[in-house]
């Protein structure tokens, strides 16, 4: 019944799954934030996630090592980031179109590889939960926040780290400059292309990690097309978060909480059509984006190729 939704257990359940579900968004969005801050719009996140998810799953399944799986997923993401960089930075291809190309490639390729190499539904053990000493003992909340698997912790840790890198390091300064005024950065001897390759590869790596977190840390299974649009939402979250890691965190939490809510609505058998419940996060994407977009300004050189002459 609807009133079940307001019980404390359900509330805590939503919170707990919300935090877990934020993980793939965080990895992918933070990566995308880096590439967009440097002027590259990567719409291929979804494809990179799928390839990362499959590779991580496949490697983990066959080597019995989750960490090898994570590394393999990141490596494949990095390769796709490199390819995206080559096409957009080197060949000056239109960024939006190339991104869609990489999405379709990742979708098809991960399906194909799955059918060729796995074929049936298999599961991996997945990363175990780690209860952090002491703080996980805090009544009620300790268990929600501090009893998660390692990748969840990593994802949340990534937010302050990336804020620090963007705002407090010379690398971050270069990234921000290159995304705003590449000519100015170039005239001071900053290699625009090198910075952009770095951020596209970093973005790909994190997307790969995001996919891996789905297939070997959260769901522990690979299904065709299992990312179900999360890669695109990750791109939207970057706009929502105004290109800032903390903003991205806020967006990721909002969406994963709505997702958690949606799951619980289905679990409790509340009489809302499940299609409608599943739609909620996506409808929210559109609503929130239209509301937030008018106020923030994108990096001035976003999607613009750089050429010296």
């Amino acid at each position: 019944m609807i009133s079940d939704l307001f019980s404390i257990t359900v509330f805590l359940g939503i919170l707990s799954s919300g935090i877990r579900l934020a993980t793939p968004y965080l990895f992918a969005s933070v990566g995308e934030a880096f590439s967009q801050r440097s002027g590259i719009l990567n719409l291929g996140v979804e494809g990179q996630m799928l390839m990362g998810a499959f590779t991580a799953f496949y490697v983990a399944l066959n080597t019995d090592s989750l960490w090898l799986g994570v590394l393999a997923g990141m490596a494949v993401g990095a390769l796709m980031g490199l390819a995206m960089g080559f096409v957009t930075i080197h060949l000056h291809a239109q960024q939006g179109i190339s991104g869609i190309g990489f999405y379709l490639f990742g979708l098809g390729m991960s399906n194909l590889l799955f059918q060729l190499l796995v074929g049936t539904v298999e599961t991996v053990r997945g990363f175990p939960r780690i209860a952090l000493p002491l703080i996980s003992q805090i009544p009620v909340f300790g268990n929600i926040f501090f009893n998660q698997n390692i990748l969840v912790y990593l994802a949340f840790l990534l937010v302050p780290i990336s804020w620090y890198v963007l705002n407090k390091t010379t690398l971050g300064l270069k990234i921000r400059a290159v995304g705003e005024n590449p000519q100015a950065a170039d005239s001071l001897g900053v290699s625009v292309n090198r910075i952009r390759y770095f951020t596209t590869i970093l973005g790909g790596t994190l997307s790969g990690l995001s996919g891996a977190s789905l297939s070997i840390a959260l769901l522990n299974v690979f299904q065709q097309g299992m990312t179900a649009g999360q890669g695109f939402i990750a791109v939207a979250l970057v706009y929502f978060g105004a290109w800032r890691p903390w903003g991205v965190l806020a967006g990721a939490l909002l969406f994963s909480l709505v997702n958690g809510l949606q799951l619980w609505i289905q679990v409790l058998g509340i009489p809302i059509p499940s299609e409608f419940a599943t739609m909620m996060p996506y409808v929210l994407t559109i609503v929130v984006l239209t509301a937030s977009l008018s106020k923030v300004r994108a990096p001035a050189a976003l999607t613009k190729p750089f050429e010296r002459e």
């Binding site: 390091t169 010379t170 000519q183 100015a184 950065a185 005239s187 001071l188 001897g189 002459e309």
Partner: protein
């Protein structure tokens, strides 16, 4: 001259830089045609030429932004290859660009630190950078707040940041591409003090300017380019302004100034008690009232950053006043969109024409009809009439002497001065009822400057109300019927030209008000 072996920064000086037979070609343009150019340590070498003569191109080759098609560069007698700004910076070459190379969303300190190694390894050391900036600012009198964002600064202040950026990198040879175009006379004097100090310290300086008196005052040698070719080099002591002018243009030119007074008509353009914020959130305009009559040029004199930009933007509908009303031909137009004001035949020549006045990736023809494209004869039922647009563009290119391979050239590939001409041609050719002209001749060569001034006077004589905002006092005095002096967002006084002297205006610009004199 100095005989010390190192510069104050500790670097070995560049005692001789030589460019030999430099040729640089762009599609349809031979920008540099076998040009020889050299500069020595402890010397200012001025580079002169009309808009589009190839000055910036030659300097960008030296700074590694462009690659020459042929020709060699020697530094202290050694052949060097400069294929990137990094290489140029390493060799001790710095450049202050004609169009600012600043990242608007970063602070002054961040812009200065960009691309430099930090004393803290991978972490930025902005506090140390700010301290160094303040030291430089003290030594050379270039006051700037290191924590300010670039978008909050006036053009003059942004120019200061550019100079600091180059000084900060300890260059031994500094290219200054029209650094004075955006400075007030006082600021130019301050810059010259810095330049003289640098010359004494052993720096090599290359100075580009369209203002001949500046060239005569500061340089040791002067080289003139015309249509990409070098005309000659001479010691400055052997030339005069008139000689240089003839040399540049290839024929006599006259310096027109005086305007016979005509009776002004009704008020065309007015602001009453207007107050607005600046970008920094401080007071931009403070209770400003002004009236410009038909057939009158009202000059706004003031030191850069005292509210000129806000005044122009408020009147052009680009900035909303927090109090007060704005009138155009008697109608209250407060809160009107720029579009509406355009339809009411207000022309606006913005200060930052690259940013606000044109679309770089559009052709010249498209830029020429940006304002009028919805009207006959340029379009009908939503279809552009390309023939009329083309004819109109050709006519303007000819009248304003825009140097371009064709009218289909993208506006951003024109030389700095020619970009200005495109905006001016568009705004002046539509027979406006009122004009707001912010720094209309900035960056123009002498020929074009005279042409634009003539046009403004012609508009005035035809009954247009002209609000002329300029930091060039010569220009204000040459054109204005009345002069309003602005200081910290307030109008200090409005003087008739007859009663305005340089001393009076100068004092008012510095904020000194002598009530008894003007009461």
């Amino acid at each position: 001259m100095t005989d010390s072996k190192t510069l104050p920064s500790g670097r070995t000086p560049i005692t001789a830089m030589e460019m030999r037979q430099i040729t640089k070609r762009f599609p349809g343009v031979l920008a540099n045609d076998s040009v020889d150019f050299d500069v020595n340590g402890s010397e200012v070498h001025a580079l002169l030429g009309e808009n589009g003569a190839g000055k910036s191109t030659l300097m960008k080759v030296l700074y590694g932004l462009y690659q020459q098609d042929s020709g060699d560069i020697y530094i202290n007698g050694q052949l060097v290859k400069i294929n990137s700004p990094t290489a140029a910076i390493k060799l001790g070459i710095g450049m202050v660009h004609q169009h600012f190379m600043l990242v608007q969303t970063l602070t002054v300190a961040e812009n200065v630190a960009l691309g430099l190694p930090s004393s803290r390894g991978p972490l930025t050391d902005l506090d140390a950078v700010s301290k160094r900036i303040n030291e430089l600012a003290d030594t050379y009198g270039l006051r700037i707040d290191p924590d300010a964002y670039i978008w909050q600064l006036s053009v003059g202040q942004q120019q200061r940041v550019e100079i600091i950026k180059a000084l900060y990198r300890g260059a031994a040879l500094l290219v200054l591409d029209e650094p004075t175009a955006v400075l007030t006379p006082q600021e130019v004097d301050e810059l010259f003090v810095i330049m003289r100090q640098m010359v004494k310290d052993g720096y090599a300086l290359i100075f580009i300017s369209h203002k001949l008196h500046e060239v005569v005052e500061i340089s040791h040698r002067v080289t003139v380019l015309r249509n990409g070719k070098k005309i000659g080099t001479r010691p400055t002591s052997e030339v005069t302004k008139q000689i240089l002018a003839n040399w540049m243009v290839g024929h006599e030119i006259e310096f027109i100034t005086s305007t016979e007074k005509i009776d002004p008509g009704a008020v065309r353009l007015a602001v009453k008690n207007v107050t607005c914020d600046s970008d920094r959130g401080t007071v931009g305009l403070d209770d400003v009232s002004l009236e410009v009559h038909s057939g009158e040029i009202m000059g706004i004199a003031g030191v850069s950053g005292n509210g000129q930009r806000e005044l122009a933007e408020v009147m052009a509908g680009l900035r909303k006043p927090t109090a007060g009303r704005i009138y155009l031909e008697g109608d209250d137009v407060t809160g009107c969109e720029p579009d509406e004001l355009t339809n009411r035949m207000l022309s606006y020549i913005p200060e930052e024409r690259m940013r606000d006045g044109m679309i770089g990736s559009f052709t010249i023809a498209e830029n020429m009809i940006l304002r009028e494209h919805k009207k006959m004869p340029y379009s009908k039922y939503g279809f552009l009439n390309l023939k009329n647009i083309s004819a109109h563009t050709d006519q303007l290119i000819e009248q304003f002497n825009v140097k371009t391979p064709s009218q289909k050239t993208m506006a951003k590939s024109l030389s700095g001065g020619n970009i200005q001409k495109v905006v001016l041609a568009r705004e002046l050719s539509r027979s406006p009822h009122a004009i707001i002209a912010a720094q209309p001749t900035r960056g123009l060569d002498i020929g074009a400057t005279e042409y634009v001034r003539e046009q403004l006077i012609k508009q005035r004589n035809g009954g247009t109300a002209v609000l002329l905002i300029s930091e060039d006092l010569d220009e204000i005095f040459a054109l204005s019927d009345r002069i309003a002096v602005i200081y910290e967002g307030k109008i200090m006084a409005i003087l008739d030209r007859e009663e305005a002297t340089r001393e009076k205006v100068g004092l008012l610009m510095a904020g000194v008000k002598q009530e008894e004199e003007y009461a």
